[in-house]
């Protein structure tokens, strides 16, 4: 084969992988040329991560061909992949929290060079040079666990770039970075491309994808469903390919004029967080509360559920006062709260799905002497999991084994099983992929149609505009504006920033 020079940098054909009978990837093939940036799009569970792990040699494919520069690769391991110049920046960074920045950056290089003895000077020099190349300043001797998330991400990027790279795979590399750092990273990607390095870029943010990628590959349920030049894709088309359906984003139907008053908040204030908050919520209404970071929206949400103790004011549900600063009283009054960070505040990650739902209903299934009616509890929980279409292998599986969208549904199921009157959702679709997001919006719509009052706290403007009847804008702890749902996004953005 004389034409090895024309062969693409990476070529995959018919790559298939199954995990204990479940197909994760089926017959996937595409190629990446030197200096090309390809965007790999797909929902959670579409096979993106599996494909990345196979290219990196972490997982072995069942069948199919992979070649680097025309050379077929069989039995890839992390070391041979790295030696061939395939570098991965994993979504969870895959760093060593207990080691220093210098060692984290230099470890793969030492491993790849086959050194048996470690030379600290060599490791430091490499780390220093790499940080300099990226124009980043981080203390080389700091332990990685002591760094802020953005720096951890930069260290992970430095590690991938420390030694010669031919293909860099980035799995959501910009999640923790600020706008300026993202710009720096995209600049680095452009420079790498100019040097002939290929990039496989996984991101949910279309603007970033379109800025650096020439080519888009979409995976769904383990199969390649679309491929083409990036210029041919827009958000709607990409979403359609990723989810396999058109995601409706029409604003909700108008509220009937005779909707009963459900919740009335008057003069709620907490020093340093929010002040003079007044609003009404009607049955069947979806009320959005938005504001920039630090506007007091999260404190207000927590105050409604008693997690933050307000200084003054009142919250009435169905005409009855709710004791302030007492989550149990709030729950008893029919208020449910789904926190922003469901992973640390809303779920027992290592407990089963069933238990996570069941915990909200313990007292309803309590019998004499504090013994639980387990059969009833489980039946109740299972029913809700079914109604919310939680996709899980077993209801006894740990919650952390679920995707973001399904975890969010488990939290919802817990609250819905208590038949609340008012549901406060803080960032309902943070860290959830496009398809699940649309489904969560569908659930919100359905709930409000049943007469529930829903408060959605979010800074995701399209989300607010498609789900809410009214949107309150908060600034410096006060409600400064009120808009009707279906307002133009640009208008809302302007009022938020003003």
């Amino acid at each position: 084969m004389p034409a090895a020079a024309d062969a693409p940098l990476i070529a995959m054909r018919g790559v298939t992988k199954t995990y204990s009978g479940i197909t994760a990837l089926e017959d996937v093939g595409f190629s990446i040329a030197a200096g090309e940036a390809v965007s790999l799009a797909g929902e959670n569970g579409s096979g993106k991560s599996t494909l990345i792990k196979i290219l990196a040699g972490v997982e072995q494919r069942d069948s199919g061909e992979i070649s680097f520069g025309g050379q077929p690769q069989n039995g890839l391991t992390p070391r041979t992949a790295a030696a061939a110049g395939v570098k991965v920046i994993f979504q969870d960074f895959s760093l060593f929290p207990n080691l220093t920045v210098a060692e984290n950056i230099g470890f793969s290089a030492e491993l790849g060079a086959g050194h048996r003895l470690v030379n600290r000077g060599r490791v430091r020099a490499l780390a220093e040079a790499t940080l300099q190349r990226l124009g980043v300043q981080i203390d080389l001797d700091a332990r990685v666990e002591s760094l802020p998330v953005a720096h951890k991400q930069l260290v992970a990027i430095c590690r991938a770039l420390a030694t010669e790279a031919r293909l860099i795979i980035m799995d959501e590399p910009t999640t923790a970075l600020t706008g300026r750092e993202v710009a720096t990273l995209l600049g680095i990607i452009r420079r790498l491309k100019a040097d002939g390095v290929a990039v496989l870029f996984v991101s949910h943010k279309l603007a970033e994808v379109l800025e650096v990628c020439e080519h888009v590959v979409v995976l769904r349920n383990g199969r390649k469903v679309a491929e083409g030049p990036a210029a041919e894709f827009d958000q709607a088309k990409l979403t359609r390919h990723m989810t396999g359906r058109d995601v409706a984003d029409a604003p909700p139907e108008a509220l009937p004029p005779d909707a009963p008053l459900l919740m009335a908040v008057r003069g709620l204030a907490k020093a340093g967080a929010f002040a003079a908050v007044d609003f009404d919520l009607h049955g069947g209404e979806v009320l959005g509360i938005s504001g920039l970071l630090g506007s007091g929206r999260t404190s207000l949400a927590k105050a409604l559920f008693g997690l933050v103790i307000p200084d003054t004011g009142s919250v009435r549900v169905d005409g009855r006062d709710v004791a302030l600063g007492d989550p149990l009283a709030a729950a008893h009054a029919g208020i449910g709260y789904v926190p922003e960070d469901r992973l640390t505040e809303g779920l027992f990650l290592t407990q089963s799905i069933l238990r996570n739902v069941g915990i909200g209903r313990l007292e309803a299934h309590g019998r004499a002497a504090g013994v639980l009616d387990l059969a009833g509890l489980w039946a109740d929980a299972t029913d809700w999991l079914k109604r919310l279409a939680v996709k899980a292998p077993r209801v006894t599986a740990e919650v952390r084994s679920l995707s973001g969208g399904n975890q969010q549904r488990v939290v919802l199921a817990r609250w819905l099983s208590r038949s609340p009157r008012v549901l406060v959702l803080n960032g309902p679709s943070v860290g959830v992929d496009v398809g699940s997001k649309a489904e969560i919006h569908g659930i919100i719509r359905e709930l409000s149609a049943q007469g529930l009052g829903v408060i959605v706290i979010s800074d995701d403007l399209p989300e607010l505009l498609t789900t809410c009847h009214r949107i309150l804008v908060m600034k410096d702890g006060r409600i400064t504006d009120e808009l009707a749902g279906g307002t133009a996004e640009a208008d809302l953005a302007r009022r938020l920033a003003s």
Partner: protein, 329 residues
């Protein structure tokens, strides 16, 4: 000059040791003497080798409670082989035999942990019981007080000996060099070889280590073989110095050893641990054992004192770290 870093266990433990010595000297001026020092060093040999071994496992994110059973097994079977088959074997060969038996038993741990991926505590709890039971049932349960000549010779070799002003004798056995050797070798492995750094890496994150191509199985296997070998060495030294091979000895010591290591700053969650800290931890525990009586605390209070030291010594830095994190967050 750098300020003392009080969030480090090492600093804290060193200060407690100094404080203890000061108190002991005030209540009994003869505390500060060569005999006290040599007693301390002598008492730290076996405990120190065990502690170094336990630290390596903790750094890798595992825990090993079977090393005392390995030590007893290796020590007793080596002695038995010498007595019944090869009474003339010189002590270096006898030591090599014990180290080899220890390494072989450690390899059994290694196979279960590295190749079957079983939790380290469960595996070593199991083998602790099996090794001990096997030793007492099949090898022997009788005390061997008539040690072979070569082991007795070894125990008589001293690095130095002397007489104190008040007429008391003191000496430091050759076995102390074994501890020094183990510390130097382990320091070299942990800090100067890629293998050692991989042990730290695995302790930090097994998945990350696997992803960048560290051969996790090989590293884990090495760790448990190494620990077994060190346990074999500690066992034979213990028998030689005690001039008796008692198959019921040593087992039960494992938690004190792990306590000393944790006192020295090694994290039970893995990835963090230093030899300095480990040796300071051992020093403190031996001091408490040998000399608690000197500062007027009855020796029955020994285990209470050790328990308090563990709670304060590891609790304080953890509490400080938590507060610092809360401030930063």
């Amino acid at each position: 000059m750098k300020r003392l870093d009080f969030s480090r266990n090492e600093t804290l433990v060193a200060l407690v040791i100094l404080g203890f010595c000061a108190l002991a000297t005030i209540s009994d001026p003869s505390f500060l003497s060569m005999p006290t020092l040599t007693d301390l060093l002598r008492g730290g040999i076996v405990l120190g080798i065990f502690a170094v071994a336990a630290m390596v496992v903790l750094v890798s994110g595992g825990i090993d409670v079977s090393f005392t059973a390995i030590a007893a097994f290796a020590m007793y079977s080596t002695t038995l082989i010498l007595v019944s088959l090869a009474p003339g074997l010189p002590w270096p060969l006898a030591f090599a035999l014990s180290v080899g038996i220890g390494a072989a038993l450690g390899a059994i741990n290694g196979i279960f942990i590295a190749f079957f991926g079983l939790p380290t505590l469960i595996v070593t709890l199991g083998t602790l019981s099996i090794f001990r039971g096997f030793l007492l049932t099949f090898v022997g349960s009788k005390l061997i007080s008539n040690l072979p000549q070569s082991m007795r010779d070894f125990s008589k070799q001293m690095l130095f000996r002397g007489t104190n002003a008040d007429g008391s004798f003191f000496s430091l056995p050759l076995a102390f060099l074994a501890l020094v050797g183990v510390v130097v070798l382990t320091w070299f492995i942990l800090n100067r070889t890629l293998l050692g750094r991989s042990i730290f890496a695995i302790g930090g994150s097994v998945e990350s280590a696997r992803r960048i191509g560290v051969n996790v199985r090989a590293v884990q296997f090495f760790i448990y073989v190494y620990v077994g070998a060190l346990a074999g060495l500690a066992g034979i030294i213990h028998a030689s110095m005690a001039r008796v091979a008692n198959p019921f000895d040593l087992v039960g010591l494992e938690l004190s050893v792990i306590a000393a290591v944790v006192l020295g700053g090694a994290r039970l969650t893995g990835g963090v641990g230093t030899l300095t800290g480990t040796l300071l931890g051992v020093t403190l525990i031996v001091l408490v054992r040998n000399s608690l009586i000197v500062i007027g605390i009855p020796s029955t209070w020994q285990s209470v004192a050790i328990g308090v030291l563990i709670l304060v010594g590891t609790g304080l830095p953890a509490w400080q770290a938590k507060r610092a994190a809360a401030r930063a967050g």
